[in-house]
């Protein structure tokens, strides 16, 4: 599992590569925790190369959602594969986070007021 993070235009872009399970979630947690400490509350997550996600990975995002919202931030996922989208749907997460088709759409949501 690889987590690649880049910052551009005040937006943190996280690319998830491989399978995000209870093992990989630890690294992801460090990345998001550090970003919020550095006051990056606008986050886009590139799921193009994310092949699998379990509750541990989703739990990381969920645990920071309140802080992101409290700081007028946003968390937007894009480029999601069908099997990953299905896990979001099973838990009803599509109702609490934004999922878009591509980076362009994700940026529109991030910059919208």
């Amino acid at each position: 599992m690889e987590v690649i993070n880049t910052i551009s235009d005040g937006v943190l872009r996280i690319a998830l590569i491989g399978e995000l399970d209870a093992s990989g979630a630890i690294n992801l947690d460090h990345v998001i925790k550090k970003a919020l400490e550095d006051e990056y509350y606008r986050i886009v997550v590139d799921c193009k190369q994310l092949d699998y996600i379990s509750s541990a990975g989703l739990g990381v995002f969920i645990s920071y959602l309140q802080d992101i919202t409290n700081h007028d931030g946003k968390l937007v996922f894009y480029n999601m594969k069908e099997n990953v989208q299905n896990v979001f749907n099973l838990l009803g997460l599509q109702n609490v986070v934004t999922i878009t088709g591509d980076l362009q759409e994700a940026k529109k949501v991030i910059h919208a007021h």
Partner: protein, 141 residues
């Protein structure tokens, strides 16, 4: 069909468990989305046993048995962990309260219960035994 797999209680072994499950499930003709959901549910149960039941103690082992007979899949996960979790007594966590409480856990059991048809937990001596059942009747291709 009957297959089994044993590994140590380490988070890093979850990928090996998923590989074993995918190889096993590849032998039956079941729709791909169902196959992926079963792998997810078993991964969640194993992560629970490794992290909460056995505190990622690499000296302890987790044993999986997969039985497929007719249209039923039975996965048995056993360990010697000291965490007595009655999966049948799980709380159905509300997503909004998990968000408000900034909780990382609570979603795994919901996935297990949503995906599998039956979830049981019992003690056999010092062993914790979790059995997950999936009726494949309508899922078989």
């Amino acid at each position: 069909m009957h297959t089994s797999f044993t590994t140590i209680c380490a988070r890093e072994k979850l990928s090996d468990i998923r590989r074993f499950l995918r190889q096993t499930l590849a032998k039956i003709e079941v729709a791909e989305p169902i196959r992926q959901e079963i792998v997810l549910a078993v991964d969640e149960a194993c992560a629970n046993a490794i992290i909460h039941g056995n505190q990622c103690d690499h000296n302890r082992h987790l044993h999986l048995e997969v039985e497929i007979a007719e249209d039923k899949l039975l996965v048995t996960i056993s360990d010697v962990g000291d965490f007595e979790q009655d999966l049948a007594q799980h709380e159905d966590h509300d997503l909004h309260s998990l968000i408000e409480q900034r909780k990382k856990g609570g979603l795994g059991l919901k996935l297990i219960y949503t995906i599998m048809d039956q979830v049981n937990y019992h003690k056999e001596g010092t062993k914790n035994v979790c059995t997950l059942t999936k009726n494949l009747g309508t899922s078989l291709q």
